[in-house]
Structures are given as C-alpha cells and as structure tokens.
C-alpha cells in the first residue's frame, strides 16, 4: 500500500460515520406524526391553567379556548353570541333573569390524574360561578382569591344569585338589567370547571391542583407541562362539538422573538406568536403572515376639568391638528388601523356615518381663534414610556403630536419620567392636562369601550382620565344596556359616538393589530380580534 492508499483509507474512516449520520437525518416519508400535530411557538409560560383567575394574554392564549368551554361564545365576523355548553337561553323582558338550557352529552377530559364518571350538568356551572361570587366558597380562596376580570366588570354587584332549576337548566338572577352580561358570560374568562374533579381534590386534600392540573370540556386536554419549556395537549376525543383532526397540540415556549422567527423559518414551529421581521416572512412562499385588528384603542385624552381643555373648541382644534396618518406610519409602522371612532370597525356597533375628525390645519387655527387663543398656549402631555399593545411607543407619539400642535401655535411639554404606578396614580388625581393612553377590550360588547372609559361613574372613580361627565352620553349608554334589542342598542351607541366626536373628550388615534405567522400547511381560523387564540377548528395537511 502506498502513502496515497493509506491516506484514502484514513479519509474513509473519517467520512463514514458522518455519511451514516446525515443519511439518518433525511426526513422519513412517513410523516404521520407531524401531520397530526401542531407546534405553536408561544411567547411565555402561562401563570395558571384557569382563565378565571388571570388577565394575561399569554395565559388566555394557552388555556381558555383549548381546555375549556363557556356557556355561550362569540361566533362569526360580527361577534354575535352563539350557543356553546348552553344550547339555548332565554332572557326575561326586564333583563333581570337569564335561563340557560344546557347540553346533555358533554364529557369532561379523561386524563392520567382524573377520570370523570358523569357528564357535564348544572352543578358544574353552579360550581364555576359560585367559586367567583361567594367568598365563603371552599374554592374561592384557592390560588389567592383574586378574579381580576370579574372584579373589573363588577360581576358580583350585578349577579344576585344563580339557581339550579334541574340538572340541565340554570337561572342567573341580576340586581339590575345589564345587556353586557351575556358578553361577560361569553368572555374567555368565564370557563366551566368540573365539580366532580373539585370534589375529588377536596377528598385528597389537594385543592390547589384545580388550577394547575386542569379538567375542562374543551377540544384539548393537558398531557404534560414543563414550565419554561412546553405544554403538550392531546385531543379530547369525546369532545361534544366536532373533535379536532389533530392528535396533539404543542405550545413550544420561546420567549425570545428571534428564537421564534428562527424556529418558524427552520420549520420547527407551525405557528408563531407575535412575529418580527414581517418582510422576511412575507418573502417566503411557504409562510403566511396574518393580522387582525384587535379590540383596542390608543387615544389622546384631555383633562376636561382643567383649562384650556374645558373649552370644547380647543379640544376640537387639537383634534383637527393631529396628523394621525403620520403617527400610524411612524409609531405603529403601519401595523395599525387609523381610529375613526372609539370603536374599531369590526365591532357590530361601529357606525360608518360617525364623522371622523380629519386633519385640517386652517380649520384648527380658526377654531383656536374663536376659542380666544389666536396665539396658542402651552400645555403638558403625559406619555408612559412603557410599551403597550395599543401603543408601542407613547413617547415618540407625543413628540409627533408636539410637532403637529406647533403648527397651530400650541407648545407641548412632554411628561414621561414617571413609572407606571405613580403615572396611573397621578392621572386618576387629574394632575395632567392631556395624556396618551389606551384601552384593550376584554370582550366584543361595545359597552366595554364606553362605560369604563367615559362614563360619569368612572370619572368619579378616576378610571375616566378625561373626567368628562356628560349626562346625555350617560343616558345613552345606560339605555343601551337596558335593552337586548341589537338594532336599538346600535342606534344608542351610534348617537353616543356622534356625541364623542362633537365633544371630543378624547381623540381616538389607532386600533393596533395583532400579528401571527404560520406555515401554509396549517389551515383554519386562529386569531380573533379579542381574547385568546383558538385551535379547535385548525387542521393540517
């Protein structure tokens, strides 16, 4: 053997194992497992597996629509309320009582930690809501006793009692009529838990597990959760609605946004939350970028108790002088819709005929002169230097507004040095003249935009940062709550919107969008304008 032959032999020894390895890396034709599974790269770990006790979007995404059902749910483009665990319901004429008629064939999850012996019935509904409503309930204090969503809609003030009529009929009694109550019951937070499971936990003296090892009626059941790593869901085969065609659904917890992008590009994730580098994703034929305008609004609010913004003409002038398009292009990088009213266009109560405030400097100057400020004035504008879903960069937005208002002679001082806590505290005391804020709705009922933001009662509690209290407006939104007739409600809300655009307690600026990227092989609706994602109607081919 010559030197050359020895070398060739040695080279073969080097390359052989690699060839074996690489040939083993070739994907097999049999891809049945990946065809039946979806990997969703989410942005964080859930705090809990019970949506009742949380508000964070990450937790709602991971749990609400996957593990649970509600009595009723929102369906379709217009977000009308549709049956879910309740096959029908009846509201009395005075709106003070709703009777739900429940489905009979709904199975709870069978898992390694619990095997149900009975179907879903009225006891489960009673248990789920009484846990929230009754402070003495054995499960009320489990996991801290805080139910933030229900506290924010003052659920316990509205609901007088819940009665079981028979195993499949349940009646909610209310202290006063509130037509947004159905929307609250249909929201992602109002899930139905299993009473039988709770009882078994009481026996074993491990009540805490109700929120960490969930049992629900939803399309998927929990198989394994490793905090910070993944959540593995298996399909609930006995699901009362159409069971999912998937075999498993995996949440791959990837907090870094470059990490999620890499996994999407490398094909390790089928769907990713909150993608970056939109152009890169759009340039790949096998990937799809989706966006949905969320039920939120970023706005510029005036303190209507303090001069000069107690003068409606000044407010109108500012509204005309703010160039919203420039803000959307710069601050939101065109990833938002311009707000024409407080409500986003996807709400059923949205009314196109409400006049939007258009950008018009000369008209604004005229109004300023009429208001007695031909030479302008100095004002402060508060902006929170923290990124929010409805406003990614309030400080930049404030600077743009500063430049806009200079054109009509107003010089703006930007106040952005406070931290979140003291910022909100001083706002509720009304120490600001104007502020950049926003609101994310919990459910699609339009009232969720009006009452918390602009009613007199929330002006008193300090939640209404404009301190605008208009009796006509309050009457309108109260009347809208007292009827369940959608056409009537729409009429009331449209008048309310017109009133806002005349009185300008605030200038709605933008409705930001929520983005998501997916591989083409994943079919079906995932995103909705409010609340969490939903994998129940998603398939893969």
């Amino acid at each position: 053997m010559s030197i050359l032959a020895v070398e060739q032999h040695l080279l073969k020894i080097i390359l052989l194992p690699f060839l074996c390895l690489i040939s083993a890396c070739n994907t097999d034709n049999d891809e049945s497992l990946s065809n039946n599974s979806i990997v969703y790269c989410s942005e964080g770990s859930p705090e809990s597996f019970n949506p009742q006790i949380v508000t964070s979007g990450t937790t709602i995404d991971a749990t609400s629509n996957q593990l649970y059902n509600r009595l009723i749910s929102f369906r379709g483009d217009k977000n009308t309320i549709a049956p879910s665990l309740a096959k029908s319901w009846h509201t009395t004429r005075d709106g003070k009582m709703i009777t739900f008629y429940l489905r009979k064939d709904v199975a709870f999850h069978t898992t390694s930690y619990f095997t149900p012996t009975r179907f879903f019935n009225a006891d489960d509904v009673l248990f789920s809501f009484n846990r929230i409503l009754i402070p003495e309930h054995p499960f009320h204090q489990v996991s801290g006793g805080k139910y933030p969503f229900f506290q924010s809609v003052s659920f316990s003030n509205v609901v007088k009692s819940i009665e079981k009529i028979n195993d499949y009929t349940i009646r909610f009694k209310f202290k006063y009529a509130d037509s947004s109550i159905l929307a609250n019951i249909a929201s992602d937070f109002s899930v139905i838990l299993s009473k039988e499971y709770a009882d078994s936990l009481v026996k074993k003296n491990i009540k805490r597990e109700i929120d960490t090892l969930p049992i629900g009626t939803g399309p998927f059941k929990l198989k394994k959760y490793r905090p910070g790593a993944y959540i593995r869901y298996a399909t609930h085969q006995q699901y009362w609605d159409k069971p999912s065609t998937l075999e498993q659904l995996i949440f791959d917890i990837t907090p870094s946004n470059t990490g999620r992008l890499t996994k999407l590009l490398a094909g390790e994730c089928d769907v990713i939350a909150f993608p970056i580098a939109h152009e890169k994703i759009q340039s790949k034929p096998e990937l799809e970028l989706e966006a949905v305008t969320s039920f939120n609004v970023g706005y510029l609010g005036f303190n209507t108790l303090k001069p000069p913004f107690d003068n409606v003409k000044v407010r109108q002038a500012v509204a005309l002088a703010v160039n919203k398009q420039a803000i959307i292009d710069t601050v939101y990088q065109s990833k938002a819709d311009m707000a024409h009213s407080l409500l986003p266009a996807t709400s059923w109560a949205y009314n196109k005929s409400t006049l939007p405030q258009t950008y018009d400097i000369s008209k604004a100057k005229k109004l300023m002169a009429e208001a007695g400020f031909p030479n302008g004035f100095t004002m402060n504008l508060w902006a929170l230097p923290v990124q929010r879903a409805y406003n990614p960069d309030a400080v930049t937005m404030a600077k743009l507004i500063q430049a806009d208002l200079k054109k009509i002679g107003i010089s703006v001082l930007i106040e952005s040095s406070l931290d979140m806590g003291s910022f909100l505290e001083q706002l509720s005391k009304g120490e600001h003249q104007s502020v950049l804020l926003g609101w994310s709705a919990d459910h699609p009922d339009p009232d969720n935009f009006f009452t918390p933001l602009l009613s007199c009662s929330s002006a008193k509690s300090g939640n209404n940062r404009t301190f605008w209290c208009n009796e006509d407006f309050d009457d309108l939104i109260q009347q809208a709550l007292q009827t369940t007739n959608v056409t009537q409600r729409k009429e009331f809300y449209s008048r309310a919107l017109t009133l806002i655009s005349q009185e300008v307690p605030l200038i709605p600026i933008a409705h930001s969008k929520r983005f998501q990227a997916r591989n083409n092989s994943v079919k079906g609706e995932l995103l909705s304008p409010y609340g969490g994602i939903d994998f129940s109607r998603v398939s893969k081919n």
């Binding site: 010559s2 020895v6 032999h9 020894i13 080097i14 083993a24 905090p227 490398a266």
Partner: protein, 342 residues
C-alpha cells in the same frame, strides 16, 4: 497500579475539599444573607429561618458551619433554586445528562475528524497537504464559538433548512425522561415512532455537536500530527523499515497505536475545554443542558443554583479527568510508575 489509584484518590479528595471550600466562601461573598444563598429559601418565614439556621448550624463557629455544609452536600442536599424553588440536585440530575450526551458526541466527532487528519498531515510532513491542514486547523481554532453557532444556524437551519436549530428533539415526540440521555431514553421508550424519534434526535444533536467539536478537533489535529511525527522518527520504526515492512504495515501496525497513546492522554485535558464551549453552544442552540441552566441562573441571580451548578460541573469535569487518566494508564504501562502526576 495501586499507588497510581491511591495517588489519584488523594488528588480527588484534595480537589473536592478546595471546591467545597470555594463554594462555601462564595455563599458569604454573594450579596444577600449567607443562609439564604446556601439554602435558596427566599420565601422562608421567620420560623422556617430558625429551623434552617439550626440545620446549617449558623450559630456555631465557621468550621462547624463548613462541616455541616459538606455534610449536606454529601447527602445530596444542594438547597433549592431561588428561581424555581425546586431542589437543585434534582434540577442538575435532569440537565446534566443532556450536556454529557452533547459533549460525548462532540468529543467523538472531534476525535474521529481530528486524529486521522493529524496523521495524514504527519505522513505528508512539510508537503502542501500538511500546510493546508495546519492552516485550516489554525483558522478553525480561532473562530469564536458563538459566532460559528449562529452562522451554522443561519446556513443549515434557515437558508438550507436541513437541520433543526433548537432543542434536543422535536416536541412532537413524547419521550419520557429516564436516564436523561436522549438516545438511550428513545430506545427505552415505547413510542411507536421510536425510529423517527431517533433520527430526529440525531438531526438535532448534529449541528451543536459539530460546532462544539471544531475547536477540539483542530487541537487533536495538531496533537495527532506531533505524536505521529515523533513516532515516525523513533528508532523502532526505523528498525521496522529496515526489516522491510511496507508503509501501510508500518502505519497500521506500529505507528498508529503508539501515537494514539499520546493523544488519549490529552483527551481528558480537552474535556474541560469542551464543556466550556458546550455551555455557550447550549445557549445558542437552546440545548436543555447544565450550561444553559447555569447561565440562566446567573441571569436570574439564583445564587444557590450557581453554587450547586459550579460544584457539580467542576466535580464532573474532574471525574472525567481521572477516568481518562486511568484509561491512559491502562494503555500505557509506563505512566503507572511515573513518580509525579501527569
């Protein structure tokens, strides 16, 4: 052999003593209460703190405290993690095997690549092949590992889409953790997709292992080259040549075996280097090993985890050193009698 073993044991005990002394003093040097640093009980009530102080003998003198600490260590109690409130020893047991697996595969790749290439270079001493191999290995040694890792992901995962970029195995496969070494766990599992899982795990380990292997491989190239050149220069090779052995007989029967002995000795030394590189690589490739866990603990200021992790990692490296020393001694009888440590 007995003296050799005793000498190694002696060294082991002394090193462990120094390591525990270091981690014990670090618990004082880290910010915060020493008792909390050492136990990780950040949410302890005053009553629990009293019990803890009792357990760690905090009121006694420092020697007593150190002694109690070592006692805790040897009974497997490294405290609980300040971040997750889980026992550190169980966390280490769940992350260490992944690192062992990754470094072993990387070591294998580095040896399989580096040693034969080094031999080829030695055979072609001072020829073009030798020069090319030496320059390439110099470049390979100089590339920073984090940059190489990102580059590998960019090319092989994103551009070409051949290999996955993160994790140990695709989450699609449900493999129960038994030993922690993924390949063994897959073989033990009862999943119907066993072989698919095995292939997937191989694809996942390939890229990070190659990235880790590069620097040690270049060192092996140079070690193997020097060792081979020494052997080829030696008297017995000349004698064999004079007896009329063919070149291949010379290389396969005499040179390689003798050159390998010298290389093996340095494998152990390379292991520490390998683990350091692996720690950075684990972060880049989201590999669920002890390196990533330790770096995350540093970010989270999880002092108890840092103490426990350092101790576990350094003892692990040290144990590997000793094992390679034994292998070397078994292969090379001369080493057993050498008076001084190698």
């Amino acid at each position: 052999m007995l003296t050799f073993t005793l000498r190694r044991l002696n060294l082991f005990i002394f090193t462990i003593f120094l390591l525990t002394l270091l981690s014990f003093s670090l618990s004082f040097l880290f910010p915060g209460e020493q008792l909390i640093n050492i136990s990780g009980q950040i949410n302890a009530t005053p009553e629990q703190l009293i019990i803890l102080a009792e357990q760690y003998q905090s009121h006694n003198n420092i020697f007593q405290q150190y002694f109690t600490y070592v006692n805790h260590l040897f009974s497997g109690d490294l405290g609980i993690s300040m971040a997750s409130q889980l026992s550190i020893s169980s966390e280490i047991i769940s992350v260490l095997p992944a690192t062992i697996e990754l470094t072993l595969v990387a070591l294998f790749i580095a040896m399989v690549l580096g040693i034969p290439i080094g031999f080829i270079a030695a055979i072609n001493h001072r020829k073009a092949t030798d020069n090319i191999i030496l320059s390439i290995s110099m470049i390979g040694y100089s590339i920073p590992v984090f940059w190489l890792g990102l580059l590998a992901i960019l090319i092989f995962s994103i551009q070409l889409g051949w290999l996955p970029s993160a994790g140990q195995i695709s989450l699609l496969f449900e493999i129960e953790q038994v030993t922690g070494i993924q390949f063994i766990d897959i073989l033990l599992s009862e999943s119907p997709y066993k072989w698919q899982a095995f292939r997937d795990a191989s694809a996942h380990i390939f890229l990070p292992a190659c990235v880790i292997a590069l620097a040690p491989a270049t060192i092996f190239v140079r070690l193997a080259r020097t060792a081979m050149m020494d052997v080829l220069d030696s008297q017995y090779i000349r004698a064999a040549k004079a007896k009329g052995l063919s070149f291949s007989q010379l290389i396969y029967h005499h040179a390689i075996r003798n050159a390998m002995v010298h290389v093996i000795r340095d494998v152990g030394l390379q292991f520490a280097n390998l683990v350091t590189i692996a720690m950075v690589t684990e972060v880049i490739f989201s590999w669920p090993g002890i390196g990533r866990w330790l770096i995350e603990s540093i970010f989270q200021r999880d002092h108890t985890a840092i103490l426990g992790g350092l101790l576990a990692l350094s003892s692990f490296i040290f144990i590997v050193h000793i094992i390679t020393d034994f292998i070397y001694a078994a292969l090379n009888p001369l080493a057993r009698d050498s008076r001084h440590g190698t």
